[in-house]
């Protein structure tokens, strides 16, 4: 839904029947705009900055000191490997033209063939377009790291991520952004609430359940080694997310401006909400709480950021703060799964809340840009989009994990887990104090 700009214009002109056909839009204005290009160069950098160092630090601070390097290493290695796969074939699967199969997956553009200095996609060079999309393909698998932290084999993790990006991420990105069936159906997912956050969050839940709990969980205390790193990482995520959401306009225009504003409003509201709930519930507001709340708000506003207004942003921020607080704090302990760093509780739950509320707050009566169908119909579409992703990501992740469990084994030995992954898997330690 990254070409929402053109759609918004149509909606504004009440020519609402026009389907979301990106290829048409590209065909109409394939002229390079230097302002758009400058912003998209910047946005691509901002989104990469979210993964390394933002997400790496966020996660690194939350694990125990003996595993701090392992999660940073996982994020970094995913960044490198996904870039290679993307260049060879994943961009083609996600954004190529699949011909008869185009509703489900793309083909072509392998080895970025046909993407040259003069190739323009929309109003920006296609080199920049694919680079921007690549940074999304990097952060989505990296988000899953938080669920299996502190116990998964590095080798299996790498193979899992290669398969997951190929089999799960690329098709889902194609469904929503590459001209696939969810885009044709009119599902609103401006910057990736479904493609990125629900997708990663569900994969995280499935993986951590199959993988099993960490040794000693939940009876042994596993407090974070450094909330300083975590709060710094969360702050970097907040900054980088302006590239993620405002960049998804694929232009330096009014949609990007509103996306930036609502992203900021929702994030601040969610952080404030989480802090307030904790203050009332436990008696004290915490740094981890406010930072986690902010991330929940960033997640939830992501699908909505191109179409809702400030009122929608306030509501989505508050709703995500409350829902994710309950999911990460209460539901996880009640159900007993060990999602170590709350990827499901924050990303899947926040992504789902955002995806659904997008259908509501895009309506003109709630200050959004307006819907081309009734709110009820749009909500139905949003449920279909989220549901299709939950089902597909859940099933495919389960299959990949089960196969890898049989072929390679998922976990390190209990001895290595107790000693810490930094020494066991990487022969180094994060802190030599």
């Amino acid at each position: 839904m990254k070409l929402f700009r053109s759609q918004a214009l149509f909606v504004g002109a009440a020519a609402a029947a026009v389907a979301l056909v990106p290829r048409l839009a590209w065909a109409q204005d394939d002229t390079l705009n230097s302002g758009d290009t400058a912003w998209m160069l910047t946005s691509s950098v901002l989104v990469l900055f979210m993964t390394i160092p933002g997400l790496s630090l966020f996660y690194a601070g939350l694990v125990r000191a003996k595993n701090v390097l392992s999660v940073m290493m996982q994020c970094f290695a995913i960044t490198c490997m996904v870039t290679i796969l993307w260049t060879v074939y994943v961009y083609g699967l996600a954004f190529g033209d699949g011909g008869a199969l185009n509703a489900f997956v793309g083909t072509g553009k392998f080895f970025l063939s046909g993407v040259g200095v003069d190739t323009v996609r929309g109003t920006i060079p296609e080199t920049v377009f694919q680079m921007f999309q690549l940074t999304f393909a990097i952060i989505t698998p990296a988000l899953i790291v938080g669920a299996f932290a502190e116990r998964m084999k590095f080798s299996t993790m790498m193979v899992f991520m290669a398969l997951w990006v190929t089999v799960v991420y690329a098709p889902v990105a194609h469904w929503v952004w590459g001209g696939g069936f969810l885009e044709k159906m009119g599902v609103l997912d401006f910057a990736g609430g479904t493609v990125v956050h629900i997708n990663a969050g569900i994969a995280a839940l499935v993986l951590c359940i199959v993988l099993g709990k960490r040794e000693g969980y939940p009876s042994t205390p596993m407090p974070p080694n450094s909330l300083v790193l975590t709060v710094v990482g969360a702050s970097m995520l907040w900054v980088g997310w302006f590239g993620f959401n405002a960049g998804s306009a694929l232009a330096a225009d009014g949609v990007a401006g509103m996306a930036m504003a609502v992203t900021h409003i929702a994030t601040a509201t969610a952080g404030f909400t989480w802090m307030s709930m904790e203050w009332m519930g436990h008696g004290k507001p915490s740094a981890l709480g406010i930072a986690t709340g902010a991330v929940a708000g960033l997640v939830a506003i992501t699908p909505a950021s191109g179409t809702v207004g400030p009122i929608g942003a306030l509501a989505i921020g508050a709703a995500s703060g409350i829902c994710c607080y309950v999911a990460a704090g209460t539901i996880k302990r009640a159900l007993g799964y060990d999602d170590a760093l709350d990827v499901f509780g924050v990303h899947a739950v926040g992504g789902f809340v955002g995806a659904i509320l997008t259908g509501l707050f895009t309506a003109e009566m709630f200050g959004g840009v307006g819907l081309d169908v009734s709110i009820r119909t749009q909500l139905g579409r949003q449920f279909v989009g989220a549901g299709a992703t939950i089902f597909y990501s859940g099933v495919m992740t389960f299959v990949i994990v089960k196969v890898l469990d049989g072929v390679m084994g998922l976990r390190v030995s209990p001895e290595d887990e107790t000693g810490g992954l930094d020494i066991a898997l990487h022969d180094e330690r994060g802190f030599n104090l």
Binding site: P221, H282, L288, A328, R333
Partner: protein, 112 residues
């Protein structure tokens, strides 16, 4: 010679040190330690998961004194480290057989 070991609340260290200096104590060793006594630990909460931290941070003082000074030093620590709250700490006294200043080779109370 006696070794006076005081386990005190960290924030009382400056007061204790001032009082001991006024008494003419010429040296002491301070260590940051953790432990528990009658004072209970505290609870830390991370995203709703509560961890009870049983060991409380304290400061340990080691002072070797001449026996003539012993009661005055104990008294000084006792009064200046006291808040009246649970967790003020403890003082232990043990015998010291010998003390040697490495630089000069002086021994016994001359080395203190």
């Amino acid at each position: 010679m006696k070794l006076v070991t005081g386990i005190i609340k960290p924030h009382m260290l400056d007061d204790v040190r001032d009082t001991l200096s006024r008494l003419g104590v010429t040296g002491l060793t301070v260590t940051e330690v953790k432990g528990f006594g009658r004072q209970k630990g505290h609870t830390e909460i991370y995203r709703g998961a509560e961890y009870s931290i049983d060991f409380v941070p304290k400061v340990k003082l080691d002072i070797v004194v001449d026996e003539a000074q012993l009661d005055a030093v104990i008294d000084a620590i006792k009064t200046s480290a006291r808040t009246g709250q649970i967790g003020d700490g403890k003082i232990f006294v043990t015998d010291i057989h010998q003390a040697i200043r490495i630089r000069t080779g002086e021994a016994g109370t001359d080395a203190l």
